[in-house]
Symmetry: C2
Amino acid sequence: MSLLHSVRTETNLSVLKTACSNCNLNELCLPIGLSEEEMIRVDEMVALRRKVRRGEHLYHAGQEFHAIYAVRTGFFKTDVLMGDGREQVTGFQMAGELLGLDGIGAEIHSCNAIALEDSEVCAIPFSNLEEFSREIVTLQQHFHKVMSREIVRDHGVMLLLGTMRAEERLAAFLLNLSQRFTARGYSPADFYLRMTREEIGSYLGLKLETVSRLFSRFQDEGLLSVQQKHIRILNIVGLKKLMNPARSGA
Amino acid sequence: MSLLHSVRTETNLSVLKTACSNCNLNELCLPIGLSEEEMIRVDEMVALRRKVRRGEHLYHAGQEFHAIYAVRTGFFKTDVLMGDGREQVTGFQMAGELLGLDGIGAEIHSCNAIALEDSEVCAIPFSNLEEFSREIVTLQQHFHKVMSREIVRDHGVMLLLGTMRAEERLAAFLLNLSQRFTARGYSPADFYLRMTREEIGSYLGLKLETVSRLFSRFQDEGLLSVQQKHIRILNIVGLKKLMNPARSGA
DNA sequence: CGCGCTGTTGAAACTTGTCAAAGTTTGTGG
DNA sequence: CCACAAACTTTGACAAGTTTCAACAGCGCG
């Protein structure tokens, strides 16, 4: 526990042992589908909980990789930076979602993970995860699925960035958020954005002004109500239509 | 082996057992780093070789997932299609690279894999892979790294699509190809593209006309020699500079 | 309570896309 | 083996979408 040389803005480590078996997230998180017995074994795997304050890094690009993190509470973004300062946000993560998969390949993190609000994660030392997944088939399978789904999600983002127009991108983004909030028991149509217009823009391959204009336009068109970060979706069907522009024939 | 109901354009299955231990690709492919003994065990894991002719699908989006494929020879693209016909190419795969990771999550393939030239793959039934990777730690670790690297690669493509200008994208694409050809013992500066301008454009989020104009411009600027699909890189430093436009300070 | 970060809006500029036409290569069938 | 058709590529002129630059408004943190 006397781990860190307490680097500048580094985050706090908590000594609290986390128990997946008690966690209300276990239906969204890694242990999906484990039997009660297996779940209790998995409790050993999770090392500790860690709090990350808004604006702080959970890990930096270039840093050594040791653990996968599961978001317990809060909200993160991951991004990659180009030499000249350009930023690409590669994802936004909320409760139950995993962070750090990018580090396995090179044993070095390839992106930054930054808390967008005060957050808490479970750290799962990767060697533990590999060890347990050799013994618990369900866990192995589930972990592989999680990684694969991350790949599929990334392909979806490529589709968005490569082929969609600005308004389609923002609609897709809002619908995706809506759906993920719903899965966590929150309102599908009324939520607070945790990220700035610039971060949304970076994720969607747009400039912040474009995002802002689009929000205004969607509001004018009666699709949304926008008050800063407070979004209400007023016409979800309309939003969906924006994404799938009427195809003539088919 | 009496597998397929011989669907229309479906590909041929070969009864040949593949042996990783004899394969000259094993330094690029899944079995990297295995001991000779382990390698021989892994031979059992690989089910069979399959030929895929140019233009044919290795698998379709929506099809049930059973196996991961390793490219032995040839060249593939993977793509996802939107309802209205828009296509996003998500990757180009060459010898030693893996196809099918997208299918693990939902047990259904989420993209199409199409041969761009007559090709041959090794099919590795996924249940075998999971079984063997429970026993052979090196294999488990390597497989996890391969998946993670795919995620990192995807993030690189997001960066490209989200933040780079057309000329930077094409430069990055050519340098990436060059580097992968080099890793396979081919010339870094003289190669044949297997894909059309439209496919390059789809991968890079550009229209085929833009790609064509860019090739012409790069040629005018003395960076490349372009004769249809035959590319010679004449000024690799110049290409790299295009990607990292001179930063003022730093 | 004010300074700074975040967001909004406008006008002009620029990059890339669209449409169109013609040239080139490749593949196929006679 | 030639000829024709289809697919792919190149190039131009113009249009459109998005960015850039700039000014200002609002909220929130210290």
